[in-house]
């Protein structure tokens, strides 16, 4: 795997850790950019610097590259290339889809899953301040936020439903075909048109899906999650969305501003590369997740989050595994494993049991205590089985040591 960034050893505490380079198991936070991404960024920055809006040859060259990238993205996501809008990232794409509602003549109602990423959850809170009512749907008895759960939350004035494809903390996959099917069925039987927005940030290039297949009206993607560049996102969106920013009319007026051509070109290539190897990578990730879950299951106090993951492995992205060893705070485990040379992550903070952000995990049916202790392990194509086995070995040892202290 590429260097995991352990070169900046800060204190003697680091020296206890394994290996100088370390093992990066935090791909859901960000993936190391591929060589192709880095090369493409560099070359395009130098060579194709024109403004795509310019009439002259430099502009034309940039415009051609931009449109080629748009075609690549459309092909990989299976949508009309006229629907692809490049943004500054997944957060902006999600905000654009949600806050577009502010342009409607009067506030109404929207539904989102309780598991949404902050970039969907927080715009929901802004909409509430403008008079919108928001229903946040927790998972039902099936363990999912499915058509039944969403259906129950709909109202006559529901304008939008937002459900994420792959949850960024647990890897849980929501049954979006089912949800869109239900929405379209209601529409056919005379119901109003409801916009379906899908945050596919943790799914793109990793698990198979298509915009058409999901039946999404808008869908967001972030390039750095699949080894593309930082600062590039994609919003697939039809005519239903209104811009909040205005300017030179770029990206069909939805996202004005001079296009980040090098980033967009690199993002297109990275998505194509990820999709090209998607099946093989997915199988590989499946093996890694199985090895990890197998290795920790017998560990004292280990909780796999949510609990039903083992019973329904198909309902989870194998790229993301959420674990907890209560009462060891997740934050402490992350530090200890960092010292051992492994990069993993957590969502909630030690010592602030009251304020730690456990919203998503609790929405997934995880207890507050488990959520507080949770750590997330996430893989990428470069993660090896040996990485995972070493990790399990060291994790077990550290957890035993920590248990001696924790009550």
């Amino acid at each position: 795997m590429p260097s995991g960034g352990r070169a900046l050893s800060r204190t003697a505490e680091d020296a206890r850790g394994a290996g100088a380079s370390g093992v990066y198991l935090d791909w859901a936070a960000t993936a190391p950019p591929s060589r192709e991404t880095a090369d493409c960024l560099q070359e395009t920055s130098r060579e194709i610097f024109g403004n795509p809006s310019s009439i002259h040859r430099w502009g034309g060259q940039a415009r051609a590259l931009l449109e080629e990238s748009r075609r690549i993205v459309a092909e990989e996501l299976d949508c009309d290339s006229g629907l692809v809008r490049f943004t500054s990232g997944g957060t902006e794409a999600n905000n654009m889809a949600l806050l577009s509602l502010l342009r409607r003549p009067k506030p109404a109602h929207l539904v989102m899953s309780a598991l949404e990423h902050a970039s969907v959850h927080e715009p929901g809170r802004i909409l509430e301040k403008f008079g919108w009512r928001v229903s946040r749907v927790r998972r039902g008895a099936s363990g999912l936020v499915g058509a039944a759960e969403i259906g129950k939350a709909l109202r006559p004035d529901t304008a939008l439903v937002a459900v994420m494809l792959v949850n960024n903390e647990t890897g849980q996959i929501q049954p979006l075909e089912e949800i869109s099917g239900m929405l379209r069925e209601r529409e056919r039987s005379g119901g109003p048109r409801i916009h379906l927005h899908v945050d596919a940030v943790q799914g793109a290039g990793k698990i198979p899906f298509s915009v058409r297949g999901l039946g999404a009206d808008s869908l967001s993607v972030s390039a750095h999650k699949f080894q593309g560049p930082r600062g590039v996102g994609i919003l697939v969106a039809g005519g239903g969305l209104e811009p909040l920013h205005t300017g030179g009319g770029q990206e069909y007026g939805l996202r004005p501003g001079t296009e980040n051509t090098p980033g967009i070109a690199a993002a297109g290539r990275a998505l194509a590369a990820a999709c090209r190897n998607r099946e093989a990578n997915l199988r590989h990730a499946g093996n890694l997740a199985a090895a990890l879950l197998d290795g920790v299951r017998s560990c004292r106090q280990c909780r796999i989050l949510p609990e039903d993951r083992l019973r329904r492995p198909g309902a989870f992205s194998p790229y993301i595994v959420s674990l907890a060893f209560p009462p060891i705070p997740g934050e402490v485990l992350v530090r200890v494993m960092d010292d051992r040379g492994y990069g993993i992550s957590t969502g909630s903070a030690c010592s602030s049991r009251k304020t730690g952000d456990t919203r998503v995990l609790e929405g997934s049916g995880v207890s507050r205590e488990d959520a507080f202790s949770s750590v997330r392990v996430s893989f990428g194509p470069d993660t090896t089985e040996k990485n995972v086995l070493d990790f399990v070995h060291d994790l077990r040892r550290e957890v035993e040591l920590l248990f001696k202290v924790a009550r």
Partner: protein, 388 residues
């Protein structure tokens, strides 16, 4: 042209026979605070005169405003000895004040240290007053309620000054010796340290680090706080004591509801040992009565009993708003409220003892058998010197 600042020492006038010592410390602190500004210090009886280049005047004033140990200072101008020169310089001073105010009532206080000067003090005041009155119709004389007093001091040179700025007051840092500040990442302890520095204590701060139960970001935060404090008080030493093993042993060996108090007691004990090593005479904490369980009178008695030196608790009677007000004024508040806590929940008692029974708790603590660990932790401490 040089700019002069006349400094009025704070409580030094009260200090009788100690005065020369206090002045010596004050001058040393001043030189240290102004080390990056080329300057000269001169004693003027009860005042200190700081002479800097005119271009350095603004930053000198900034330094003086936060300098501990002076009750105020005045920017002064120097003039030649002739009355024409004095009139010219006084006009500059008065002119700039009138531009700000429009009109003003004033009086002149003249002092003639140079007795060979042809006019006496009264004569100087009269003559200068008349000349200024002719120049500035908006200026009126008021002996009882002046808006400002124009001071004229005739020595080897002639000094003129009018406005006094407030200083930080307090005693020069160092005249009371050295104190050990128990510094956490919170709001209170930096304020406590600052207040005691104003009572003349030079500080060594001690922070107890429980990695990996608390993160490096907490350590960084404490170091930032120590830096902010250092800038206010003319530097300090920060000692970072590895505390994890002690926390772990307390956790293993003590009843759950006593862990918080036992940790506090251990910190006090180590700080006390550090005080002897650093030749300090007191410990300083940010404790405020009954703010939390470990700060009830009973808890303070218990934790305080681990110190042989006096434990100074300048915040003991202050409410939180007041403490926050000081923290904002000295610039530590914004850092203190960063969301990194200095104690991990793993070690905190869920329902800590609020009214510990003294004897029972003492015996229970002794039973932990961690005395050697406390010494070991102190030996392993890392010391960081932070300039003011």
């Amino acid at each position: 042209m040089d700019t002069l600042f006349l400094l009025k020492p704070g409580e030094l006038m009260l200090k009788g026979a100690n005065r020369p010592f206090f002045m010596r410390v004050l001058r040393k602190n001043l030189s240290q605070a102004l080390r990056e500004v080329p300057h000269r210090l001169e004693d003027r009886h009860s005042r200190i005169l700081v002479r800097v280049a005119e271009a350095d005047a603004p930053r000198t004033a900034d330094i003086l405003r936060r300098f501990i140990g002076i009750s105020g200072f005045s920017p002064a101008l120097v003039s030649g000895k002739s009355l024409d020169d004095i009139e010219h310089t006084a006009s500059l001073l008065v002119g700039s004040l009138l531009r700000e105010r429009g009109t003003a009532r004033y009086k002149i206080e003249a002092r003639r240290a140079d007795k060979s000067y042809p006019l006496d003090s009264y004569g100087i005041a009269c003559e200068l007053g008349e000349r200024l009155g002719r120049r500035f119709p908006d200026l009126t004389v008021s002996m009882r309620e002046p808006d400002f007093i124009l001071h004229v001091e005739i020595r080897g040179e002639v000094f003129l000054y009018a406005l006094a700025e407030e200083g930080e007051r307090g005693l020069p840092v160092g005249v009371s010796g050295r104190g050990i500040l128990l510094l956490s990442g919170g709001i209170d302890s930096p304020v406590a340290g600052y207040l005691m520095a104003k009572r003349g204590l030079r500080l060594d701060a001690v922070y107890y680090h429980s990695y990996p139960y608390t993160g490096r970001e907490v350590r960084d935060k404490v170091q930032t706080l120590a830096g902010l404090l250092a800038r206010r008080i003319g530097g300090l030493n920060l000692h970072i004591v590895p505390f994890t093993e002690i926390q772990v042993k307390i956790r293993e060996r003590a009843p759950e509801d006593r862990t918080t108090l036992f940790s506090r007691a251990s910190m006090m004990r180590i700080a006390d040992m550090l005080a002897f090593r650093r030749n300090a005479n007191s410990l300083i904490t940010g404790e405020s009565l009954s703010q939390v369980a470990s700060q009830t009178p009973e808890s303070l008695r218990f934790t305080g009993s681990f110190a042989s030196l006096p434990v100074l608790r300048p915040l003991v009677g202050m409410d939180k708003e007041r403490i926050i007000g000081i923290a904002r004024a000295i610039g530590t508040y914004e850092t203190s409220i960063l969301p990194y806590d200095d104690c991990c929940v793993v070690f905190a008692s869920r329902h800590p003892v609020i009214r510990p029974k003294f004897q029972e708790m003492k015996e229970s603590f002794m039973g932990l058998g961690i005395e050697e660990d406390l010494r070991k932790a102190l030996r392993a401490a890392e010391r960081i010197t932070i300039d003011g």
